[in-house]
């Protein structure tokens, strides 16, 4: 990001999966409802540890950023998020 050496650019086209589309839609909705700015999302992504940044895919970074921002804003709690994640995990 911003002029740091980063290797070759992957120019291959690829389809988005359903969960990626849903993450994008969620970000748009939160923006429209004034619960999230682009800048908050970017800040959350930029403050990921370098190892996490490299390990996560593009929309995985968005998921982390959205969750982080909603917890910071007090819209959800970490405990609520944790319980929901367990529910989804069980669903398989």
């Amino acid at each position: 990001m911003g002029g740091m050496p980063a290797g070759k650019v992957d120019r291959s086209e690829h389809d988005y999966s359903d969960w990626e589309r849903r993450v994008d839609a969620m970000a748009v909705l939160l923006g429209r409802k004034r619960r999230l700015t682009v800048d908050e999302r970017r800040r959350a992504i930029e403050t990921l540890a370098p190892q996490a940044y490299d390990a996560l895919s593009y929309y995985e970074r968005w998921v982390v950023a959205l969750g982080q921002t909603m917890v910071q804003r007090g819209i959800i709690t970490s405990a609520e998020l944790a319980r929901r994640m367990l529910e989804v995990e069980k669903r398989g």
Partner: protein, 100 residues
């Protein structure tokens, strides 16, 4: 936007400006590669809430003037091999610009 919640524009088209060569914490829109470089104001784009403040969940007011600044590619990239006429334009907020 109310006029008092907008910072007055200090630069105009044709003015030479230098980008601050600073690396603060937080979310900053000014790309790393352009910091410390000198260019020319191409146009004033308007004034917008400061993204550095929006990123911290504040209102970003007063709004900062945003400029499109034109740089010569050979001034930006030390090993630039293209034409000396080539330019890159970057949108930069006023609080990142100073008179060279």
């Amino acid at each position: 936007m109310k006029s008092k919640s907008v910072v007055k524009a200090r630069f105009g088209p044709g003015d030479a400006v230098r980008v601050l060569d600073a690396y603060p914490l937080g979310h900053v829109r000014t790309p790393f590669y352009i910091r410390g470089k000198t260019g020319t104001v191409e146009r004033l784009c308007g004034a917008f809430p400061n993204p550095e403040e929006l990123a911290q969940m504040r209102d970003g007011l007063p709004a900062q003037p945003l400029y499109r600044v034109r740089f010569r590619q050979q001034d930006v990239w030390p090993d630039y091999r293209g034409s000396s006429q080539d330019v890159v334009e970057v949108e930069i907020y006023q609080h990142w610009l100073e008179k060279p």
